[in-house]
């Protein structure tokens, strides 16, 4: 007679989900330990950096796993499956947000409005980071999702395509487009731009002296 259940720390996500479908609570606990943090941070990024909303969504996604584990197809990678579920939840939330925006006629509280009236801090690295975050928030949902999945969650083009239910070419295009747009918007921080700026300043200084 077994007294102690076996440990699931070495099991793959797919095997764990098979156990979850059978009703194994330790397997579910292990799945939660692995994926609760990435899901929370994904929702936090995608849902306007609202922690409470992100936690609600994270809880909701695991509740779905509890109540309808059979929705998961074990032949598919769990990672792409859980991100695609999260992505669909975000889509629904964007729609609801659109409806709310139409009725309240106001910006989302968490959207950070860029204040460009601080040119003296533009050379600071922290300013660059702040500006980049702002620019990311201003991206369209699809571009933002693709960009975050690619650069924050470090997923492959193929996985992202599967999660977003689109082609790999589309994912590549979205990533390239986002990089180009952000580069243009933040070109004052690029090394070439800095060199040009320094050159212009020097020319102006020489002219002033002469």
């Amino acid at each position: 007679m077994k007294l102690v259940k076996k440990s699931y720390t070495a099991e793959t996500d797919e095997n764990l989900m098979r156990e979850v479908i059978k009703g194994n609570n330790l397997a579910f606990s292990e799945i939660y330990d692995r994926w609760s943090k990435p899901m929370l941070n994904y929702f936090y990024k995608m849902l306007w950096q609202d922690r409470e909303k992100a936690e609600d969504f994270m809880q909701e996604i695991f509740t779905k796993i509890i109540h309808k584990p059979q929705l998961y197809n074990p032949s598919r990678a769990f990672k792409t499956w859980i991100y695609s579920v999260a992505n669909n939840m975000c889509k629904n939330e964007y729609r609801r947000a659109e409806v709310r925006k139409g009725t309240s006629n106001s910006l989302h509280d968490n959207i950070i409005v860029h204040d460009s009236s601080a040119p003296d801090k533009e050379h600071d690295k922290n300013i660059f980071n702040d500006r980049l975050k702002e620019e990311l928030e201003l991206l369209s949902e699809n571009h933002k999702k693709t960009f975050i999945l690619r650069f924050k969650h470090d997923l492959s083009i193929k996985d992202i395509a599967e999660i977003l239910e689109t082609s790999e070419g589309t994912v590549k295009s979205r990533i390239f487009y986002t990089l180009k747009k952000l580069g243009k918007n933040l070109k004052e921080f690029s090394p070439v731009a800095k060199t040009i700026m320094v050159g212009v300043c020097l020319i102006e200084l020489v002219q002033y002296i002469i």
Partner: protein, 326 residues
């Protein structure tokens, strides 16, 4: 540069992350040129990629609230039919990872048990009085001093007994020796001399004090009535009568050797007294060992007395058995 797990060398991202524009080879430049129009655009995109990487690395990741897991596990257990209870399930519930050390139920239970144990120990520590009627008591109780005195008394008694025994033994031995000397000096021993001997000498000695030979004229072995002349190795073959009467004459004196005689002067009290001496024909005094009642008298007049001597009466049982056996 190492190829990224999710980025191949066919992706522009790879070159944006790993190369400067002027470091690109012709082939790499051809790949980059498909997507990037100019060096400036390449540098702008590179700045974004590098900046994004730093942002996401430096960004502090959120930790989920532990209460969510507890709620989800409860939800899961509700959903599933009640199954077997596993010991590690108990352990997980007693020591959940997400709670702090002192918030864990297991730690709280351990602390409670320790407190109860401490209280019980303190409460019952002074209450050592017990009902004497229920206990076995040692009425013959002796203090340590009394026990020591008793022990020393017993030791003294034993020592006295041993001393008395030794004293008695020595006394009996001395008595035996004295009697033997008396016998040796008073009795005249006549030794049948050979025809060619010049003097008929009987050599005896007060071997306790003087080893000088004593000459006695007209010694005649036939006149000796209370002396038992025997060979040293035939002592045990003596007749029972000779032992009981104390005096017997050995008819086999003729077989006695010339140079060694054994004179057994037996009195009722000293039945076992045996003299052994060597008699030289010419000189007639002891030249070799003389033994008296087991005491060894050497030629240089010293006597080695054994510690224990036994009388014939003491060995009568043994002798009886011996004769029966014979």
């Amino acid at each position: 540069m190492m190829e990224d797990r999710n980025r191949s060398k066919m992706d522009v991202e790879f070159y944006l992350l790993n190369r400067d524009y002027n470091e690109l080879t012709i082939d790499e430049l051809a790949i980059v040129k498909e997507h990037v129009e100019s060096e400036q655009e390449f540098n702008e995109m590179k700045a974004v990629v590098m900046g994004v990487g730093n942002i996401f690395k430096e960004e502090k990741e959120l930790e989920p609230n532990p209460a969510i897991k507890v709620a989800l596990l409860k939800e899961f257990d509700k959903q599933q039919p009640a199954g077997a209870y596993w010991l590690n399930g108990i352990f997980v519930s007693l020591f959940p990872k997400e709670k702090k050390l002192f918030q864990k139920p297991g730690m709280q239970l351990i602390g409670l048990a320790a407190s109860v144990l401490l209280i019980v120990t303190i409460a019952f520590n002074g209450n050592t009085e017990m009902n004497n009627s229920t206990l076995a008591q040692n009425e013959d109780f002796k203090t340590e001093e009394e026990a020591f005195e008793e022990h020393s008394k017993i030791e003294k008694d034993q020592a006295n007994e041993e001393k008395n025994l030794e004293k008695n033994d020595l006394q009996s031995t001395f008595e035996l020796i004295e009697k033997e000397i008396e016998v040796a000096t008073l009795n005249e021993v006549e030794i049948e001399e050979k025809p060619e001997s010049v003097e008929n000498k009987v050599t005896t000695t007060d071997f306790m004090y003087d080893a000088q030979p004593i000459e006695s004229e007209d010694a005649d072995l036939s006149s000796v009535s209370d002396a038992d002349y025997r060979r040293n190795d035939n002592i045990l073959n003596e007749s029972e009568e000779s032992f009981n009467n104390g005096i017997s004459k050995d008819k086999e004196k003729g077989a006695m050797s010339d140079d060694k005689l054994v004179i057994s002067a037996i009195t009722p009290a000293t039945a076992e007294v045996v003299e052994e001496f060597s008699m030289e024909d010419d000189e007639g005094y002891f030249a070799e060992d003389v033994s008296v009642a087991g005491a060894l008298v050497t030629g240089n007049n010293s006597i080695d007395l054994p510690v224990n001597t036994r009388t014939l009466a003491e060995d009568s049982d043994l002798i009886g058995i011996l004769y029966t056996a014979m």
